[in-house]
Symmetry: C2
């Protein structure tokens, strides 16, 4: 288990995986120690705020990753369709075809939503907004782009749930294929 990291930066992705697997309440410092090789001394040195600060750092890290790889390209790329395609590729890889939980979505379901509501809200608003912008540039009407982006983000989240429930990544891949086709049909 111990990957024996020695910096805060290296620790964050490993801690993220623990939160993804066990949820916020189910994650204990001993699990984090097992995953990182860091004792409590080091953990509280890196994260003086304890478990809550670890979760905040993880959410920040996730949002930064999505911003760099998905949100910004969607919102700014000159060619919208390749950016949308790249989003689907990134999503499939990032979520391991639906086997890997979206931590932000999981936090939205749990009561931790109240604690981290701002980060959860921002993540999804950025995704919806950047995707809608790309869809508009791809020829969709603004109202339709808004609806379509909601449909896409929703179904990605739901497909993760269904994929894990049935333990069948094909569910996730079929969902992405359907959604991708929807983006190609401006009305």
């Amino acid at each position: 288990m111990s990957k024996r990291v020695s910096t805060r930066t290296e620790a964050v992705p490993l801690i993220a995986e623990v939160f993804r697997e066990h949820g916020y309440e189910g994650t204990s410092l001993s699990l984090i120690t097992s995953a990182t090789g860091l004792g409590k001394g080091s953990l509280y040195n890196f994260f003086p705020g304890g478990k809550e600060e670890m979760a905040t750092a993880v959410l920040d890290h996730i949002e930064a990753w999505f911003a760099a790889h998905i949100f910004v390209p969607l919102a700014t790329a000159k060619a919208p369709l390749p950016a949308i395609d790249a989003m689907f590729v990134s999503v499939e890889e990032y979520f391991l075809s639906g086997r890997r939980v979206c931590l932000v979505g999981a936090f939205a379901l749990a009561d931790t939503r109240d604690q981290f509501s701002s980060a959860v809200r921002t993540y999804f608003l950025q995704w919806l907004d950047s995707l809608a912008k790309a869809l508009v540039r791809a020829g969709h009407r603004p109202a339709q782009a808004k609806t379509l982006s909601e449909e896409i983000v929703s179904e990605i989240q739901g497909a993760i749930i269904l994929t894990r429930a049935l333990e069948d990544p094909a569910v996730f891949r079929r969902a992405l294929k359907r959604l991708k086709e929807l983006t190609l049909q401006p009305a």
Copy 2:
């Protein structure tokens, strides 16, 4: 908080709400005591297996409700379209327009999935299967009905996440409206 119930049957729906709000790991017996008015003596009298048996009882109760109100009507009603419409009405009411968590979906995301994988899997398989059957009777081709049922169940789950993340039940209602329209267009 205390609703002062006095039987196992009355307690199960109240316990279900605690699990929905706090998740499996986040639910403590003291929270359940607060919600039901039952002390630990009564709780262990009704559920000798403790917290795990409470969760199992809740999952059984949920599955029975969905079977009676949604799965069986979908699979057996002579007129499929009214049954599908009734499903959307039931879903909107049951999940309080997306404000109320689907406990089975939440369990599919958490590591409790392993513990309750059979119940989680059965719930979603029944939903997918009964809905696909209704769609076939409504004129969809079998393969299309399977895909469409996956899309509908997935997006209902995802819409709950997005609704809670944005704290906007309109997201859920828009999703249901979109999905309902999809069922009316046999190709």
